[in-house]
C-alpha cells in the first residue's frame, strides 16, 4: 500500500528536484552552509546542554556584527570575480579616525558620514585602479590595505577611548524580548544585509554584478554598464568597511589602529563558506550571512570548550578547504555537462 503511493510521488520528487537544480544549482553550496550551521548548533546544544540559549544566540549576532557588514560588501566584490583585501585595514582606519574625531569634540552627526565617506573613497580608488588601470584586484586592494593601515597609524599609534554617547548608544542599548536582545549595531548589520540582498536580487545594478562575474566580455557586448558596476562594487565594499569601523569602535568602546589585521581573510572565508564562488558569478548575500554565523558559532563553540582560539582558525581553514574543493567539483561537473 505504502509502496504504491510512494512510487509516483518519488517520480514527482525527482522531476521537481531536477527543475529545482536547473533553476537553483548555484544555491547548493549555500544550503550546505545552512545545514552545517544548523548541525553545529544542534551538536553544540547536545554536547554542552546550554548552548542554544537566547543570550548566547543574541551574542552571536552582536559579536559578529562588524564581520557581517564586511561580508556583505565582500560578496558584491567576489561575485564580480574580484577580491578586496583592504577591508580589515579600512575598518581599522575608519574606526580610529572616528574615535579621534570624536575625542577632538566633533559631533557624531558629522563624524559618522565622514568616516563612511573615507571608506568609500578608498574603495573608489581600488575600483578605479582595477577598472581603468587594469590592475589585478588582488594587487589594487593590497595597495588599499597598506594605505588604510598606514593612515590608521597616522591618526594615532595608540588606542583612543570613545566617550561619545551617541556612538556608545549603538552598543549599550539592548532592546529586549524576553531573554533575547538586540543592539542597534545588530540591527544595523541586519539592515545592511537586507539592503545588500535586495540590491543584488532586485535591481539592475545587482543583476549586472552577476553578469559581470559570469562573463565580463558578454556583459559588455550586451550593452551593460560594466565599468560603472566594477568600480561601484569596490565603493560598496569600502562603505561597508567604513560602517564596520563605526560598529567595531562602538563594540570595543575604543578605536585601535591594529584592529582587524587579517580580518579581510576571515571575511573572505565566511563569504566562501556561505557559497560564493571565488571565480565570480555565483553567490548570495544571505549565504554570506550564514557563512558569518557559521564562523561565529565555531568561535563560540571553541570558547565553550575552553580551548585555544587558534583552533577557530584551524577549523575554519579546514572548512574553507573542504568548501573550495566542493565548489570546484560543482563547477567542473557543470562544465562537463555542456
Amino acid at each position: 500500500m505504502s509502496a504504491r503511493i510512494a512510487a509516483p510521488s518519488r517520480e514527482v520528487v525527482a522531476r521537481r528536484a531536477r527543475t529545482f537544480l536547473d533553476r537553483h544549482a548555484a544555491m547548493v553550496p549555500t544550503f550546505a552552509a545552512l545545514v552545517i550551521f544548523v548541525a553545529l548548533l544542534i551538536g553544540a546544544q547536545i554536547h554542552f546542554g546550554n548552548f542554544l540559549t537566547p543570550r548566547n544566540m543574541s551574542a552571536l549576532l552582536l559579536d559578529n556584527a562588524y564581520l557581517l557588514i564586511l561580508a556583505v560588501g565582500m560578496t558584491f566584490v567576489i561575485v564580480t570575480g574580484g577580491i578586496d583585501l583592504s577591508v580589515g585595514s579600512v575598518m581599522a582606519f575608519t574606526g580610529i579616525w572616528c574615535a579621534h574625531l570624536l575625542a577632538e569634540g566633533h559631533s557624531a552627526v558629522l563624524v559618522v558620514p565622514l568616516i563612511i565617506l573615507g571608506g568609500a573613497v578608498i574603495g573608489l580608488l581600488i575600483g578605479v585602479l582595477v577598472q581603468y588601470f587594469d590592475v589585478q584586484p588582488f594587487i589594487a586592494s593590497l595597495a588599499g590595505l597598506f594605505l588604510a593601515r598606514g593612515l590608521a597609524f597616522v591618526v594615532s599609534l595608540d588606542s583612543i577611548r570613545v566617550e561619545n554617547e551617541g556612538v556608545l548608544w549603538l552598543q549599550t542599548t539592548r532592546w529586549r524580548l524576553g531573554e533575547w536582545y538586540i543592539t542597534p549595531t545588530g540591527i544595523l548589520a541586519l539592515g545592511v544585509a537586507a539592503v545588500g540582498a535586495f540590491v543584488m536580487q532586485f535591481t539592475r545594478f545587482g543583476r549586472t554584478v552577476y553578469a559581470v562575474g559570469g562573463s565580463e566580455q558578454s556583459a559588455r557586448l550586451m550593452g551593460l554598464e560594466v565599468a560603472r558596476t566594477k568600480v561601484l562594487v569596490y565603493v560598496i565594499s569600502g562603505v561597508c568597511a567604513g560602517l564596520a569601523g563605526l560598529v567595531l569602535t562602538a563594540y570595543s568602546g575604543a578605536g585601535y589602529p591594529r584592529n582587524g589585521i587579517g580580518t579581510e581573510l576571515d571575511v573572505i572565508a565566511a563569504v566562501v563558506i556561505g557559497g560564493t564562488l571565488l571565480t565570480g558569478g555565483t553567490g548570495y548575500v544571505l549565504g554570506s550571512v550564514v557563512g558569518v554565523l557559521v564562523y561565529g558559532t565555531i568561535k563560540t563553540v571553541i570558547s565553550f570548550m575552553g580551548a585555544e582560539q587558534s583552533w577557530t582558525r584551524i577549523i575554519i581553514g579546514l572548512m574553507l578547504l573542504a568548501f573550495i574543493v566542493v565548489q570546484r567539483v560543482i563547477v567542473v561537473r557543470s562544465e562537463r555537462r555542456r
Binding site: 527543475t19 539592475r204 559570469g214 562573463s215 558578454s218 550586451m222 550593452g223 551593460l224 558569478g281 557543470s334
Partner: protein, 498 residues
C-alpha cells in the same frame, strides 16, 4: 535603412577593413561573404559599435550616427548575435534575455513579468524550456537560440546574425529560418553571415563580398551564380595557390608512426581511429565544434584519454601528458596562438629555445651561444622576418609568430606534428609559406596532422582527409578523390555522406 560608406578599421598599422560599403534594407536578408580574415567580423563589429570606425560614414535612416559602444548601437535598434555566444552562463535564461532592459515595478525587478515575457519570446522561437533555469545548463544550440531571443525581444530594426547556424542541427536551422522570414515580414533588416553557401542561398536576398578587408561587390543572390560567388570570395583561381605536388606515400603503405585506436576522451571524442603515416599529411576537416581540436588534443596527450590505445611505431604507449608526448616525438601546436603558443613578451630566440630547454631540464642549460646559433638557424630556415632574434615575439606578424612556434616545435626534433589551425588569421602570403613548410616537413619524413577550418587548404595539403563530426571520425578519404564541394558536403551533411 542602414548604410555604411567607406568603412575603414585599423588594427595597429594594418587595415582590417578598407573602404567598405554596406547597405541594409528593411525586410531584406543580407549576407556578407568572404574567407577567414576577409574582414567579416570586423565589419560586423564596426556597425554594432563593438569597434570604432577609423574612417567612414555610418547612416541610419539617412541620419549620420556614430556608435561608441554596443550599448549605443542597441539604443538605435541594432542588435547582434555573435558566433561565440555572448550570454552569461551563470544566470537564468529569462535574465539573459532581459538583461539591461529588465521589466521593473516600483523600481524593483519584476521577476514574474520577466519570466512570462521570456516565455513568450521563446515560444515564438519554438523553444520549450524553463525560463527560470540557469542558461549554462542548456546545450550550445539552445543557448544560441536564447541569444537570438534576446536580440528580437526588443524593438529590433537591424538584426545581425554572425554564423548563427554553426551550432544548430537541421531542424533547429529550419526553425531559425522560419523566425528570420517572420522578422523579414515585420520589416527588420537582417544581416546573416554564414559560410554555408546553401544557407546563404536559401535565406538571403543580397550578398556583399569581401576579400582581404576590401569590398569586392554587392550582388542580388538570385542573379548571382554560386560559382561566381566562390570566385569573388577567393578572388583567384584556386590553382594559383597550389603549394606542392601532393607526394604520394609509397604504395607499400608505410608503417604508421602513430596509430590511435578507438580513442575516446571526455572532451567529446568517441571511438576515433587515427593513423599518422610517416611522410604523410593527414588533413582534418570538420566544422567548429565538430571535435577537430579535441581530437588533436587527445592524440597529442594534452587531454586525458578515457578509452582507446595509442601505438607509437607499433608498441602501445601510455601518454600521460604533453611532456611524455614530446618524449615520444609528438608535438602539438594550439589553434590559439596567443594564449597557448607564443609568449609575446619573450624574444624570438627565447620563444624558439623554450621547449628544448624545458625538455632538457633546468640543470642542463643550453649555452647562450648555442641557443643563439640554434635560433638563428631556425629563423634562417623558416625565413622568419624580421630576422631579429631579440625582438619580442608579440611584435611579429601572425604568420611569423606561427613560424616561430613551428621552429620551437621543430627544435625538439619531433616525429609527429599535430597542428591545429596553423594558418588561422595570417595573411595570404604567409599562409602559403606555412603550407609549403608543412609540405616540406612531410616530404622529409615527418608525420603531420593538419587541422584547418578552410577545407580548400585541408584538401590541398593533406594526403588523406579525416572528416570529423560530432566527435567522431566519420570517414577518412584520400584527398585526390575529393573536391572542395564534395568535402564541404561531407563536412556539412548530418551523417557525413555526400
Amino acid at each position: 535603412m542602414l548604410e555604411l560608406t567607406g568603412g575603414t578599421v585599423y588594427f595597429g598599422a594594418d587595415a582590417a577593413l578598407d573602404g567598405v560599403d554596406l547597405r541594409l534594407f528593411p525586410g531584406e536578408v543580407h549576407s556578407i561573404m568572404g574567407e577567414n580574415g576577409a574582414g567579416k567580423s570586423t565589419l560586423i563589429k564596426a556597425i554594432t559599435g563593438a569597434l570604432p570606425l577609423s574612417a567612414g560614414d555610418l547612416q541610419l535612416y539617412g541620419g549620420r550616427v556614430r556608435f561608441g559602444s554596443p550599448h549605443d548601437a542597441q539604443q538605435h535598434g541594432i542588435r547582434a548575435v555573435y558566433q561565440e555566444i555572448d550570454l552569461v552562463p551563470n544566470i537564468s535564461v529569462a535574465e539573459n534575455i532581459a538583461l539591461g532592459s529588465e521589466p521593473r515595478r516600483y523600481g524593483m525587478i519584476d521577476w514574474k513579468a520577466m519570466r512570462s515575457h521570456a516565455h513568450e519570446v521563446l515560444t515564438d522561437l519554438g523553444l520549450d524550456i524553463d525560463p527560470a533555469s540557469i542558461l549554462g545548463r542548456h546545450s550550445l544550440a539552445v543557448q544560441q537560440l536564447v541569444a537570438i531571443a534576446r536580440a528580437i525581444s526588443t524593438d529590433v530594426k537591424v538584426l545581425v546574425l554572425d554564423e548563427p547556424t554553426s551550432s544548430l542541427d537541421l531542424d533547429e536551422c529550419a526553425e531559425l529560418f522560419r523566425v528570420i522570414r517572420d522578422l523579414k515580414r515585420r520589416g527588420v533588416a537582417i544581416l546573416f553571415v554564414s559560410h554555408f553557401l546553401d544557407q546563404v542561398y536559401e535565406i538571403c536576398d543580397r550578398v556583399t563580398v569581401l576579400r582581404d578587408g576590401k569590398l569586392v561587390g554587392e550582388y542580388l543572390t538570385r542573379e548571382f551564380l554560386r560559382i561566381d560567388l566562390v570566385h569573388a570570395m577567393l578572388g583567384r583561381s584556386a590553382d594559383s595557390l597550389r603549394t606542392r605536388s601532393r607526394l604520394h606515400v609509397a604504395d607499400g603503405r608505410k608503417q604508421p608512426y602513430l596509430s590511435a585506436r578507438s580513442v575516446s576522451a571526455r572532451s567529446g571524442i568517441t571511438g576515433a581511429d587515427v593513423d599518422l603515416v610517416e611522410g604523410e599529411v593527414l588533413g582534418v576537416a570538420g566544422l567548429l565544434g565538430s571535435g577537430r581540436t579535441e581530437l588533436a588534443r587527445a592524440i597529442s596527450g594534452i587531454d586525458k584519454l578515457d578509452a582507446g590505445i595509442i601505438r607509437i611505431q607499433g608498441s602501445d604507449e601510455n601518454i600521460a601528458g604533453p611532456r611524455s608526448a614530446i618524449s615520444l616525438g609528438i608535438v602539438y601546436s594550439s589553434e590559439d596562438r596567443r594564449a597557448e603558443g607564443i609568449i609575446s613578451e619573450l624574444s624570438v630566440q627565447e620563444n624558439i629555445t623554450l621547449a628544448l630547454q624545458a625538455e632538457r631540464g633546468v640543470l642542463r642549460r643550453i649555452r647562450p651561444s648555442r641557443q643563439r646559433e640554434l635560433a638563428l638557424s631556425w629563423v634562417d630556415a623558416l625565413d622568419i622576418r624580421p630576422p631579429d632574434l631579440d625582438r619580442p615575439a608579440g611584435t611579429l606578424s601572425g604568420g611569423n609568430q606561427q613560424k616561430v612556434l613551428l621552429a620551437r616545435l621543430l627544435a625538439l626534433s619531433p616525429r609527429a606534428l599535430v597542428l591545429d589551425e596553423p594558418t588561422r588569421g595570417i595573411d595570404v602570403g604567409a599562409k602559403v609559406e606555412v603550407q609549403n613548410l608543412i609540405g616540406e616537413l612531410a616530404d622529409n619524413g615527418l608525420s603531420v596532422m593538419f587541422i584547418s577550418a578552410e577545407l580548400e587548404e585541408v584538401l590541398r595539403i593533406g594526403n588523406r582527409v579525416a572528416i570529423v563530426q560530432g566527435g567522431r571520425i566519420v570517414d577518412t578519404v584520400p584527398s585526390d578523390e575529393l573536391t572542395v564541394d564534395s568535402l564541404t558536403a561531407m563536412v556539412a551533411s548530418p551523417d557525413g555522406v555526400a
